[in-house]
Symmetry: C2
Subunit: 457 residues, 2 copies
């Protein structure tokens, strides 16, 4: 396909997509919705999130998850997006190299809590948003993230504007304006990682997407070529418009949804997904049994070169720092402890785990060939345990549990939800999501989410 008029073509194909066209992806969309709500509910359980709640509450009637209060649509999206990403426990899409649901669902829930929308259109808007986000990520290219942009935020603002615009039934002209207004707000930086501005950036993307769609609905105009040419966003933020950009953005639209092909990675553990391989292997070795923690002489963690870049802490002082520590994650698993939120809290690391970590070291091996189906591509980890009796035990993980190549079972997903909220709430949420596409509105789901959360001290 030729390039030219990329912006108009993309918007036209979105506007022409019927909710029924997106049905093949509804099952994954609903898994994403439940997972988002669980992660956000658990985020709500963190006392620090009260600060943002105070900032947003009282500005309107839109949903503030787990709160009896309300906010404007834009600030509802900000808060619920922040909550969903607060613990970095929400889903990941490989193509996006980021977190789609915690941007898209807050934007859609903000609007759906103020206006009647059918369950089917709500889910279709999410499917389209995830599709746009993944295709834009591919069109933007790999350098974007590597340079220091935060894909969840930068691509999220465009995707949430399109998802919200679709939900609002904007016509092509207004949808183009929404994209133009969103393109004026592409931003988000990795230098804010490790602070609560990381989850804030997810919320800001949702806020701006909602605002862009509502401004367009109100009749504000914008440029209609923001994806095109040498001053468009691919040129400003990526590697420019390439020969295959049109194909990437439009090819096979509606015949192969991102949510069905790449799917969503549901995190089993509340820590950086870069440590998931280590976690799986450590747990496997412990469960295979035959040793006690004190039998370990040393443990070696083997990565491909650079494969541990995100794991910046080698001797974490707290469980929270342990979220970005290969040594801590390995020690927790090799000591037979569970990967619960409690073990990754701001509490100091126990003496037992500290002593264990001192016997853990990292190595890099460029000669090991990663599996062709590795998740993420090119990644693996080996955990090798040297026991005092001379035995050497080893386990390698290429496709961590929870990623689309090794998905959670329905039971495991429900177990994760139970880790995040009460049994009663988990049941109500599951029931409401189960029948969502058959509902004339999303009210019953939103009423459940308005349940006031009472924090336990």
């Amino acid at each position: 396909m030729e390039n030219g008029k990329l912006t108009e073509s993309l918007v036209r194909i979105i506007a022409e997509t019927g909710p029924a066209d997106a049905e093949p992806a509804f099952a994954t969309a609903k898994q994403g919705l439940l997972d988002y709500m669980g992660a956000a509910w658990k985020g709500r359980a963190q006392a620090e999130t009260d600060r943002l709640l105070r900032y947003v509450s009282g500005s309107g009637q839109a949903l503030l998850l787990g709160s009896g209060q309300g906010a404007s649509a834009e600030l509802s999206a900000l808060y619920n997006g922040y909550l969903g990403h607060y613990l970095d426990y929400d889903d990941v899409n490989q193509t996006v190299r980021g977190h789609p649901s915690t941007v898209l669902y807050p934007a859609l829930l903000a609007v759906a809590s103020l206006r009647p929308v059918t369950g089917k259109r709500f889910l279709a808007a999410y499917v389209i948003g995830a599709e746009v986000m993944a295709r834009l990520a591919q069109a933007m290219g790999q350098q974007h993230y590597r340079k220091g942009f935060h894909n969840t935020a930068t691509l999220g603002v465009l995707a949430s504007a399109m998802a919200t615009g679709y939900l609002l039934h904007l016509d092509t002209d207004r949808l183009l304006n929404a994209l133009g207004i969103a393109a004026a707000q592409v931003s988000g930086i990795r230098l804010n990682f490790g602070t609560e501005s990381k989850p804030l950036q997810a919320g800001l993307a949702a806020q701006k997407g909602v605002q862009a769609a509502l401004l367009a609905e109100a009749g504000i105009a914008a440029g209609h070529t923001v994806l095109d040419g040498s001053q468009g966003i691919f040129s400003l933020y990526g590697e420019g418009v390439r020969e295959d950009t049109r194909e990437i953005l439009l090819g096979k639209w509606g015949r192969s949804w991102e949510l069905c092909s790449s799917g969503l990675w549901f995190k089993l553990y509340p820590f950086c997904s870069g440590a998931s391989h280590i976690a799986d292997s450590a747990r496997q070795l412990y469960q295979a049994g035959g040793f006690l923690p004190e039998d370990i002489q040393k443990a070696v963690l083997v990565f491909p070169p650079g494969g541990d870049a995100a794991l910046i802490h080698r001797r974490p002082a707290t469980g929270e720092e342990g979220r970005f520590s290969a040594e801590y994650v390995a020690a927790v698993g090799l000591n037979g402890l569970a990967y619960t939120l409690e073990n990754f809290s701001p509490k100091p690391v126990s003496v037992q785990l500290r002593q264990c970590m001192e016997r853990v070291e990292r190595q890099y091996d460029a000669t090991i060939i990663p599996s062709k189906t590795a998740m993420p591509p090119g990644r693996f980890a080996v955990v090798r345990v040297y026991l005092k009796d001379g035995r050497i035990l080893e386990h390698r993980t290429d496709i961590p549990k929870g990623s689309p190549g090794n998905p959670l079972t329905e039971e495991e997903r429900y177990q994760k939800l139970l880790n995040c909220c009460s049994e009663n709430l988990a049941l109500n949420l599951s029931d409401a999501v189960e029948v969502l596409e058959d509902r004339m509105d999303t009210n019953s789901l939103i009423q459940i989410l308005k349940t006031k959360y009472h924090r336990q001290f």
Copy 2:
């Protein structure tokens, strides 16, 4: 000076600046305030701006200029920023290559309309905001704008966050957080020029700056190195951190304010400043007299190569398109018509002016040496008129009227204000601004701005 810790150093020097330190720049700051208010008031007179008014109004108690209603602080900043830039009639700073006042004053007025702030701190916050915006522009480098970013928006979000944070008396830690949150929102694109998303982008920068400062005040944390290193904003959006970046950001701070050295360019005419040179020369030639429009055989407009890049319309159909047309601006002047808003409205171009434009052509001359004090540097225009009787008349402008090298007199600035609002309002605004730095609060000024504007049909 060495680089390293640029972010912390800049924030520290801002926090340590006393309001009295900024006093040398108060006279220019007050001229900028009056000019902004006039431009915004005239923007309010355009019926199209009602759409955004409807979107923002009712969300809180902060000022909506010329409206009896109120909005949240963030949406007040959005609306008042949009109004100020709606007609592109607001001030310009050469170093910024953009419009400082229509971002900074809306942000400051939003906060000042909700909380008591002294007149002196209000003006000092503006001086600091303009200073930060100009220094960031220099540190970012020329490629940023050339690539397609919109400096008013991209630099405006950082500057308005710092100005607002200063107004709010944020301590160094919170001011750093405000800068980090703002750095996550650096955006705005030139592809939206020519649509109302251009003024919207000015408003969005103000909105985000206010929100960043208020979120930081509420205790939200962010990265503290967002200006530093290979993933900081100079690297992501500009030419990276250079040897002189530290000197650019911090050198002579408080001893040489941008508002005193470069100053502000107050637009005399409601059109693209790139056509100002043509306007001055055409008017001079007409006023020198000796010919009637029908005596003109042809007129040649001479630019340095590329000097007319912003003037994209050669045969504009409406006065509005004529804002970006060298031919239209020349024709208006050579026909002895005034450079009023009415002649640059969406109405069709008259037959008389269309016939005149057909006799106007552009030429480029790289051999002409621009004046050392040219505004902008390197720019000039020559208008050469060939009369039917064989005479050739010529006028050249290097420093257009209104720019700091050829400033408006006090009387001319007041005349501009009278073009924008009623005599009564102009008088009240002038009086309130005159004594602003001696006032314990900004209430009397804000009360005047709340005067409800009644549009004439």
